[in-house]
């Protein structure tokens, strides 16, 4: 009997979390080795929904690429498209109208709020508070309606195009957005009551999944996850694009680097996004919604890189052009892939339940990891 016990003590308990698992938010496979409930190592296995988007882009014109970057991180579709459009525009040296910049910035921030709301939903659900899931989805609905009214799409909008927008915003757009700001300011207080202040939630996230600033920088953990560790990485602040240079907003930073810090960064970012929208929404200038572009865009030969702050971190587009109508090579720097690489460091030595909380606080979107 003693031998059996010895044997079992030395064994590591290997569990496959995923590819089908409620808390991996998609088809991510995590191979955990456990001792008791303590996680000894996490090995993410990606690629279950790899679609070869970067390769597909090499056979598409620059206008057509937009509909693929939508489908990377589908929760920040607008923001991904913004990066591609800006890369093409800077390559061509086009100055886009002010109106387009305003609308793009507002849309980006709305997409960020919607994305953070869905993160809040799934965060609550991963921690076992199912009610949070439905409140978040309910409050995301008006944003999707705003999107649908102007762009025609709810999740995948394909709204931006190199040189401007596909179509102008709906006349009711401003009124709806202003109503929504008032509505959501009220609801976010409820979020705090339900989850942020909850003692169980606090204990489950505080001190869990620590990531120091140095580790965040070395793994390239950006976005709210990086800022939770004190890594100043907000592209909107440090490399302003769109209208971000002209609006006032804070870069939310927290120094703790645990799951709770990442949670609070996202909660505060939602409020900050509301502020940004509020500053812009009344001042949208009149004008064209697009620049007249040639039907076939040929980028001059060279290499172009554009980065934006997506909802989950820094999203970058690298375009290498040989002067043809198709890009020679496209590389997409997706935030989730780098964020996921830090999972092992965060989860080492924690419990399984903590791993779920850490995963929820990283907020990964699998299509963005696999591309």
């Amino acid at each position: 009997m003693a031998e059996i016990i010895q044997d079992i003590q030395e064994q590591e308990y290997i569990i496959n979390m995923g590819p089908q698992h409620p808390s991996t938010h998609g088809v991510l496979r995590l191979v955990l080795s456990l001792r008791g409930e303590t996680v000894l190592s996490v090995q993410p296995h990606c690629g279950y929904i790899h679609r070869g988007i970067e390769k597909m882009c090499e056979r598409l014109t620059y206008q057509q690429i937009i509909h693929l970057t939508d489908r990377l991180d589908y929760l920040s579709a607008h923001i991904n498209n913004h990066a591609v459009c800006m890369a093409v525009e800077t390559a061509l040296g086009i100055e886009i109208p002010e109106r387009v910049k305003y609308i793009r910035t507002i849309m980006d921030e709305l997409a960020r709020i919607a994305s953070h709301q869905l993160w809040w939903c799934s965060f609550g659900m991963d921690l076992g508070a199912l009610t949070a899931f439905f409140y978040g989805l309910r409050d995301r609905e008006p944003i999707l309606d705003i999107f649908e009214e102007s762009t025609g799409g709810r999740l995948i909008q394909s709204y931006y195009t190199p040189g401007g927008l596909m179509k102008d915003i709906h006349p009711d757009f401003q009124k709806r957005v202003k109503d929504y700001i008032i509505y959501f300011r009220k609801k976010i207080g409820e979020y705090d009551q339900l989850l942020s202040g909850n003692v169980i939630m606090n204990q489950r996230t505080q001190g869990i999944g620590k990531l120091t600033k140095e580790e965040a920088i070395s793994f390239g953990v950006t976005g709210p996850s990086g800022r939770g560790s004190g890594f100043e990485c907000d592209v909107r602040k440090h490399r302003p694009y769109g209208m971000y240079g002209k609006v006032e907003f804070k870069e939310i930073l927290r120094s703790e680097g645990d799951a709770f810090a990442r949670y609070m960064v996202r909660m505060d970012e939602m409020r900050e996004s509301l502020n940004i929208i509020e500053q812009l929404i009344d001042n949208i200038p009149a004008g064209d919604f697009t620049v007249k572009m040639k039907p076939v865009i040929k980028l001059p030969e060279g290499e172009y890189y554009q980065r934006v702050e997506a909802a989950r971190g820094e999203f970058g587009v690298f375009i290498s052009s040989k002067g043809e109508k198709y890009p020679y090579r496209i590389k997409l720097r997706s935030p989730n892939f780098s964020n996921l690489s830090a999972l092992h460091t965060m989860a080492n030595g924690q419990k399984i339940a903590d791993l779920v909380a850490i995963g929820a606080s990283l907020d990964y979107v699998i299509p963005d990891i696999d591309r």
């Binding site: 076992g128 199912l130 009610t131 309910r138 169980i200 204990q203």
Partner: protein, 362 residues
């Protein structure tokens, strides 16, 4: 025979006498067993089906959505449809599973919850067995359910199930203490373990009012600990969906899964009944000493309605727990029990004993 909705004693006595007149004592015993068995079984199924529906509707309203509304008006036949679906589903057998234990486990869980119903007083005279150790019996019997969960987790030959079973074992074994101690606090106040005596003692005021602060503390602790013992959220670590997919019943399908499901809801019902009986006076109407008119009005409401109403309120509180809070981690769960509930509980028993000794209770 007169059928009196306020007192079932004469009714049950009439059944007994007419049976005795017709046949010999041995067969009377067998027939009565059969009648009670069938009655409780029917009640069990009804309550189970209704609770599943109620939970869906309640949680839907808490989550600001509509809930089941397709099968029948307001979706009331949804659970029946689900039951039919589960009955028709294939029973999946797991490779290398211990088939005997795998099959036995759901029955152990459901039998444990079934046994406890026998001791619950539903109304005056409507009481299957009135043990003089009633509370002790309920605690004892409900501790059997965990064996089924442990067996289910181990015999499915699945790692998620095993972890779920381990968690459940640690959880139930430690929370049984708090359930027991908080009930003992009330036994000290009542001076009896017999459930009928306890109910009768609350004729002039429920224990939660007459027992001062210790009774309230005991009630709160009982609610928390019994939520944990029934494996319901926020203590549903054994079946933590986001961590262990479904915990100990991951590998179960069809009607065997339905057994686990039904047993969970019945355990909730039993816990709520015990709480209603011990703390809120069971089927006893709400009386305020001195207000004669008010008391007679209250007496008009049949005891069975009182009992169901109180149980429903407590079940609602349990649902409110489940649908509001995030799940605890296993170490927090044990911290809560051993650092908070148990010391407070022990202190509470002493306090209650002191109050009873000094004769401060009404």
């Amino acid at each position: 025979m007169e059928f009196n909705i306020y007192d079932f004693t004469s009714f049950t006595k009439w059944i007994d006498e007419s049976l005795n007149a017709a046949m010999s004592p041995f067969w009377v015993m067998i027939t009565e067993m059969a009648i009670i068995g069938v009655a409780i079984l029917a009640f069990y199924a009804l309550v189970g089906l209704f609770l599943v529906y109620a939970e869906r509707k309640v949680c839907a309203f808490m989550q600001n959505r509509v809930g089941p509304n397709r099968v029948g008006p307001f979706g009331i036949f949804q659970t029946i449809a689900d039951l039919l679906k589960l009955l028709m589903k294939e029973l999946v057998y797991i490779k290398n599973a211990d088939k005997l234990l795998f099959n036995i486990a759901p029955f152990i869980v459901i039998t444990a919850s079934f046994l406890a119903i026998a001791a619950i007083p539903f109304a005056r005279g409507l009481h299957a067995i009135d043990f003089n150790i009633g509370i002790f019996y309920v605690v004892a019997v409900s501790s059997l359910g965990v064996i089924g969960i442990l067996l289910a987790g181990w015999s499915s030959n699945s790692k998620y199930s095993l972890i779920g079973a381990m968690r459940s074992g640690a959880q139930i074994v430690s929370y049984e203490l708090s359930v027991g101690l908080s009930l003992i606090t009330m036994v000290v106040l009542a001076g009896s373990m017999q459930l009928s005596t306890i109910v009768e003692a609350q004729a002039n005021g429920w224990f939660i009012f007459t027992g001062h602060v210790p009774a309230v503390i005991a009630f709160v602790i009982f609610l928390i600990a019994s939520t944990a013992e029934t494996n319901r959220g926020p203590f549903d670590l054994a079946e933590a969906e986001s961590e262990l997919t479904a915990g100990f019943h991951t590998e179960y399908s069809g009607i065997r899964f339905a057994f686990f499901f039904l047993a969970e809801y019945m355990n909730m019902f039993i816990v709520a009944s015990i709480a209603a009986t011990v703390f809120w006076g069971g089927w006893m109407p709400f009386h305020v000493p001195g207000w004669e008119g008010f008391n007679t009005v209250m007496d008009y409401i049949p005891p069975f309605i009182w009992y169901i109403g109180k149980t429903a309120v407590i079940i609602f509180i349990l649902m409110l727990f489940k649908w509001t809070f995030p799940r605890l981690r296993i170490d927090q769960l044990l911290t809560l029990e051993w650092k908070y509930l148990l010391p407070i509980n022990l202190f509470n028993v002493v306090l209650m004993a002191f109050i009873v000794l000094m004769g401060w209770h009404w």
